[in-house]
């Protein structure tokens, strides 16, 4: 793949994750963007273009939410675009930020992701029902959780994985989230497997503590060319690879036990990064974990283990912060919260902080040179992957 510029991440910012924030979406964007610029030592006027990720307009009841948020994201009178692939948007925005800079068009790009889900009443889950086919599926009285429960059960059946094993993802991520200063109140915690499995059944096999919450928050990163990176920092974190891929919307015609689209996205990113053996070459992973089983599903799709092997790595402690392959050291969506688009960019920010050694109590034990952030979205359909390295 030929491109003009190497691209570095040089700063990141994050608001608190909240069930309901007093701030508007614009205000959340402003706080996260300003923090990212401050961290990078840049001024607003240094920013040449802005990328925004935010999920469905219907959450907010604001049409063309990207444009609405632009002023808060620093987009005033600048080249500005919105990335939108549902839950995959946060990482997709970082990919867009990458090619804005890699193309040679821009040297400094601000990437902002925002979600304010609390405005939607009675519950934003209802806003998601529009993702289902309006002819064949919505008349059945759908709920968003159905597709996840169907996919989780398929995964459990094909690989003979008990619910208790999958619950260990919630145990790990909710415990990791205790060390995240932005974690949503009441979301991280010390839970036993029994408490996770025994929590209220939402849509079996998904229980309440195997689902991430709804959250208001914003995240931001600053991406620059090598020219700028050399001038402003001694510790750039380079974008080594990016990949994205979309599968069919005929989701009932696919075998849900394995996310092929994540594999193709990962292969694209690995090829660009020159990674031939991701199991050895990736040191820390933020896999997308809106549901407990999703982390395992995605580890397999990312080729970090064989199909069906992720539950065993989890049981052996390999994916703990002090393990050989730490996964979701931030606490992830299950432990910190899930402001859809902002959750994806939070994962990119976490890898940035891990690679800079700035993650504090969340810093993984092993030395880290290469990390991966991944998100997923649309109708069990899209995979987005960014590989960062120092």
């Amino acid at each position: 793949m030929g491109y003009q510029n190497r691209v570095a991440v040089v700063g990141a910012g994050l608001t608190r994750f909240m069930r309901r924030a007093q701030e508007t979406g614009k205000e959340l964007c402003f706080e996260a963007a300003r923090m990212a610029l401050d961290a990078a030592g840049l001024r607003p006027r240094d920013v040449e273009a802005v990328v925004m990720a935010t999920a469905p307009d219907v959450f907010d009841g604001v049409h063309m939410k990207g444009e609405y948020l632009a002023d808060g994201a620093g987009g005033f009178r600048k080249p500005y675009m919105r990335s939108f692939v549902g839950g995959g948007s946060g990482v997709f925005a970082a990919i867009h930020g990458w090619y804005h800079v890699a193309s040679g068009h821009f040297d400094t790009v601000l990437v902002v992701a925002e979600e304010k889900m609390s405005s939607c009443l009675p519950h934003p889950q209802a806003a998601f029902n529009g993702i289902y086919d309006q002819f064949l599926e919505r008349p059945l009285g759908v709920n968003l959780l159905w597709i996840f429960a169907l996919e989780m059960n398929r995964y459990m059946q094909v690989h003979k994985v008990p619910q208790e094993t999958i619950a260990l993802v919630s145990v790990k991520n909710k415990r990791n989230g205790l060390d995240h200063p932005c974690a949503q109140e009441g979301i991280p915690g010390n839970y036993s497997v029994e408490e996770i499995v025994g929590s209220e059944v939402m849509v079996w096999p998904v229980t309440r503590l195997m689902v991430s919450p709804v959250t208001d928050a914003a995240a931001a990163i600053v991406m620059v060319s090598e020219r700028v990176a050399k001038r402003i920092t001694d510790r750039p974190v380079w974008v080594k690879g990016v990949g994205w891929h979309l599968d069919s919307s005929y989701w009932t015609n696919r075998d849900l036990y394995y996310p092929k689209y994540v594999e193709y996205a990962a292969r694209m990113a690995y090829e660009m990064a020159g990674i031939t053996n991701p199991r050895r070459e990736i040191d820390v992973v933020e896999a997308y974990d809106p549901f407990a089983y999703k982390e395992l599903h995605h580890m397999e799709g990312l080729l970090l283990c064989d199909k069906g092997e992720a539950p065993r790595l989890l049981e052996k402690g390999v994916t703990q912060r002090d393990g050989e392959l730490p996964v979701c050291p931030s606490g992830g969506l299950l432990g910190v919260g899930n402001p859809i688009a902002a959750a994806g960019l939070m994962k990119v920010a976490e890898i940035f902080w891990q690679l800079r050694g700035e993650a504090g109590a969340r810093q993984v034990s092993r030395p880290v040179r290469t990390g991966l952030a991944q998100a997923w979205g649309d109708l069990m359909q899209v995979g987005t992957v960014v590989v960062l390295g120092v």
């Binding site: 064949l136 059945l140 939402m202 849509v203 079996w204």
Partner: protein, 213 residues
């Protein structure tokens, strides 16, 4: 969050902040209405449901009989060319047990969404629908429903059908629950046996299919 950043913004609200008027909100109630035209493929599909039949489309490029039917094949990116009647029986590919309603409120009686792979269509061609006659409690449902289990459509009475996916009330376990082979569920030959479309491996095992439209 970096160790170099101590102060992070955000004002979390509690319900009482709104209830006690400490924070102001503005409400907007939108009523959105839509009428979707069902298009070329689903118009035919829904008309057939009214007659108690399920139709797929055959693609000569990949030799798949696809359900839900579409006028184009997304694999081959070419038109599909033929209607093929498939069975109203199939296998449970995956299922779940739902205690939530559309708006996230709780329902007392669970519903059982499932993906059902239809006999007579190509392998892996599932549709989402509900299972019925499988019990009212989680324990009972988990005891009675198995992945791979043969099921059959339970239809609305003909006079009540509207040409909609809900003309099938739900899928119920086949009476002969010991059946393990496709076609062993007793549906064989229930629909037209004059197979007009080329067969795809495994698609005619139940003995149905073939009603070209």
């Amino acid at each position: 969050m970096s160790v170099h950043i101590r102060d992070y913004p955000g004002i979390p609200l509690k319900d009482r902040d709104i209830g006690e008027g400490r924070v102001l909100t503005t409400e907007w109630h939108v009523k959105a209405q839509y009428a979707w035209d069902t298009g070329a493929a689903l118009s035919r599909f829904f008309r057939a449901l009214k007659e108690g039949k399920i139709y797929g489309r055959w693609c000569p490029g990949c030799d798949r009989i696809v359900v839900p039917p579409r006028m184009f094949c997304e694999w081959c990116f070419r038109p599909t060319v033929r209607w093929v009647e498939v069975c109203d029986t199939g296998r449970v590919n995956t299922f779940s047990v739902s205690y939530v309603n559309w708006d996230a409120s709780r329902s007392a009686v669970p519903r059982v969404p499932a993906v059902i792979e239809l006999d007579g269509a190509s392998p892996g061609m599932g549709i989402m629908h509900l299972l019925g006659e499988v019990g009212d409690t989680l324990e009972e449902i988990l005891r009675r429903v198995k992945v791979g289990m043969p099921v059959r459509a339970v239809w609305k009475p003909p006079a009540e059908r509207q040409g909609a996916i809900t003309d099938i009330l739900y899928f119920a376990p086949c009476r002969d629950e010991g059946a393990t082979e496709p076609g062993g569920c007793g549906c064989g030959g229930a629909v037209g046996a004059d197979r007009a479309a080329p067969t795809t491996s495994g698609t005619d095992a139940c003995g149905c299919g073939g009603g070209e439209g």
